[in-house]
């Protein structure tokens, strides 16, 4: 078999396995977990770990599967289709930076480690105002998704990465519910005992952050595609004026435009994944991520908003599943940087010169 065919077989298998763990058609589990703490199902998390998902990107020598961003994005996209709340993107982010026993426990599903990297709203880059001295961390980290399910946090500091147990003294967590039924945690660390994670360089953290941002774009892609499919179904089913409403040209044209935005998002995400999977200088790699995240943020909000409109009154009820997709987009579109932030970063990374 050719390399390309091998790869596409890989991708197909990954998508299938994702569908087996979290069937996208059924959102009852997602609804049941809404707005409770910890907001995830630990058994499902363990199953994900058993499938090797948090370590998908790690070399086999480190207990991973040695696959690329293309594969990870395909997996995460499937989770997006099913609005899966378990924090795989964050877990994989942590796994990229941990080593040894801490990594093993994470990959085995025994401990959930979530990165706490953000110190201001809207950040793309890691905040490093927190301080790590003599094995103790002091600082404040914002917007940690699903923080209440963490056994430990991987904290960026001025002095490198630190691993802090959630139940350690000096650790306090403030929780704010999010529209998707999950939550953000504000993590306050007051001289909390921590373990330095020496192996990870700042560059490695930056790369892991970019991978997480791209994975978010892939998750949004899956979610918007699914919400669009639900909407097309509705347009074919719902009748008004004696015809299915999907036969009305104005709605057809709007659907066509949404389809184009989804296709652009897919092309952008897959192109960024391919860029990260190939060797190359740092700026175009980060720029590719920004391009994909900007597109995914904008397109996912457009598609899910329009999905509500195209569903009409039923779309405005909480009991219609379509609203769950809008809520998810509201939470993820700006996470790891809004469209505007990523557009600006793209322009900074790849300034236009007079190359004509």
């Amino acid at each position: 078999m050719s390399v390309a065919a091998d790869r596409s077989e890989n991708l197909r298998m990954i998508r299938d396995s994702a569908g087996a763990v979290v069937p996208p058609g059924d959102l009852r589990r997602v609804r049941a977990l809404r707005s409770g703490a910890p907001g995830i199902d630990r058994d499902v998390w363990r199953e994900m770990c058993a499938m090797g998902w948090p370590g998908l990107r790690l070399p086999e020598a480190e207990g991973g599967s040695g696959l690329g961003m293309a594969e990870f994005c395909a997996l995460v996209e499937e989770l997006g289709r099913g609005l899966v709340p378990e924090p795989l993107i964050q877990g994989a982010f942590a796994a990229r930076l941990l080593r040894g026993e801490a990594l093993e426990a994470l990959l085995a599903g025994e401990r959930i480690v979530l990165p706490a990297w953000q110190e201001r709203a809207g950040a793309i880059a890691a905040g490093r105002d927190a301080a790590l001295r003599d094995g103790r961390v002091t600082g404040r980290k914002l917007f940690v998704p699903m923080a209440s399910c963490a056994d430990a946090f991987l904290v960026t500091t001025h002095d490198g990465l630190a691993l802090v147990r959630a139940d350690a003294p000096g650790v306090s967590l403030e929780i704010a519910g999010t529209q998707d039924g999950g939550h953000f945690g504000t993590l306050s660390l007051d001289d909390a005992p921590a373990e330095a994670v020496a192996a990870a360089t700042e560059d490695a953290v930056d790369e892991a952050l970019d991978e997480a941002a791209l994975a978010l774009a892939a998750y949004l892609l899956g979610a918007m595609e699914r919400s669009f499919a639900l909407t097309l179904d509705y347009l074919c089913t719902r009748r008004q004026f004696g015809r299915p409403i999907g036969s009305f040209q104005a709605l057809q044209h709007r659907a066509a435009d949404l389809g184009i935005q989804i296709a652009l998002t897919r092309a952008s995400v897959e192109s960024a994944a391919a860029t990260l999977d190939s060797a190359g200088p740092a700026a175009p790699r980060a720029a590719a991520v920004s391009r994909a995240k900007a597109r995914a943020a904008t397109a996912s909000m457009l598609v899910t908003r329009q999905a509500i409109q195209l569903h009409g009154a039923i779309g405005y009820t909480d009991e219609a599943d379509i609203g769950l997709y809008l809520r998810k987009a509201m939470v993820l579109a700006n996470l790891h940087g809004s469209a505007a932030e990523h557009r600006a970063r793209y322009a900074r990374l790849l300034p236009e010169t007079d190359h004509d």
């Binding site: 709203a121 809207g122 953000f184 709605l251 909000m301 509500i308 809520r327 509201m330």
Partner: protein, 381 residues
Amino acid sequence: MTDLNALDDEDFRLAVRRWLREAYPPELRNPPKRLHWRDNKVWYLKLAEKGWLAPGWPREHGGMGLSAAKQLIMLDEYERHGVARTNDHGIVMLGPLLIRYGTEAQKSRFLPKILSGEHIWCQGYSEPNAGSDLASVATTAVREGEDWVLNGQKTWTTLANDANWIFVLARTDRAAKKQEGISFFLVPMDAPGVTVRPIVNLDLHDEFCEVFFDTVRVPHDNLVGAVNQGWTMAKALLGFERVMIGSPKQSAYALGRLRLLAQRMGGWDDPVFQDRYTGLRLDLADHTSLYETYLEILRRGEMPGADASMLKLHQSELYQRITDTMLEIAAENAGLLEPMEGNRDLNPAGLFLQARPVTIYGGSNEIQRNILARTVLGLPG
């Protein structure tokens, strides 16, 4: 009692303003969601007591008998003060219809109880399969002796869970053309066979309900107007509504919140934001100018035509564009379930969700564009 119509406009405006400052409960100003009867009852009864509940009804029926111009001033002051809507379907919708089409017996039976707050009405028009296509109501009413028997289901019935009466469009002639076989009934919510199921909205509020009619029996006296004239009567009262639904108030409110949010997020001075904000501001200002031209028509006592639907189209989409912008600049706060920092004026996600249905209700914007194109621009059907 002063003759309010005799006051000059400015004095009248000041009188309204003074009364709102005195009498309006401060905690009800600019509520983030539509209030239930339990919350707005206090204000409804204060209005009733002062005799200001029904500005547009003739005095003989207990209304204020205000001119259109004065009503608009009153409304304007209400909007400025952030006065919440009450459970006003009896006042705004049913009252004028009864005054125009009801029998004397119906008027004297129902109007006083609207004014006293004893009857709280809701409007039973939309159905699961009669949303945009409102004329295809499937709820039926069949004559049995002196009674009518209703069967069917209404949906998107605003605040039905507060109401003790509902006015209903029901089909009384299946053979007639869609619009011509519909009649108008008054139904007590406690009649056997009426069930109400609140619908939780995207913004997690139960403003709308489903109302089910299972062999509900009402006497013939509860039919308003002639049999099969329901659609015509319901449509005849839309002129004022068509303008009011395009009021700039939602957008004006949201724009203020957008400014506050931008200031809080630190992006207010960003030139890109400023450019966008100014664009929205100009859209609002031009909308307000357009709205004014329609108010002028109402002030002259005339009824605007179908072209007034432009107002609703533009306002609702502007409101959404403003709240879309809020989400875009709110960073991670765009996904929060509760207002930021416990400050209900910093609530991008909430306002964004509340802005969703405005392009759906009151005739979806798709329907409004059809009407505009065919009725106003004269394009072929």
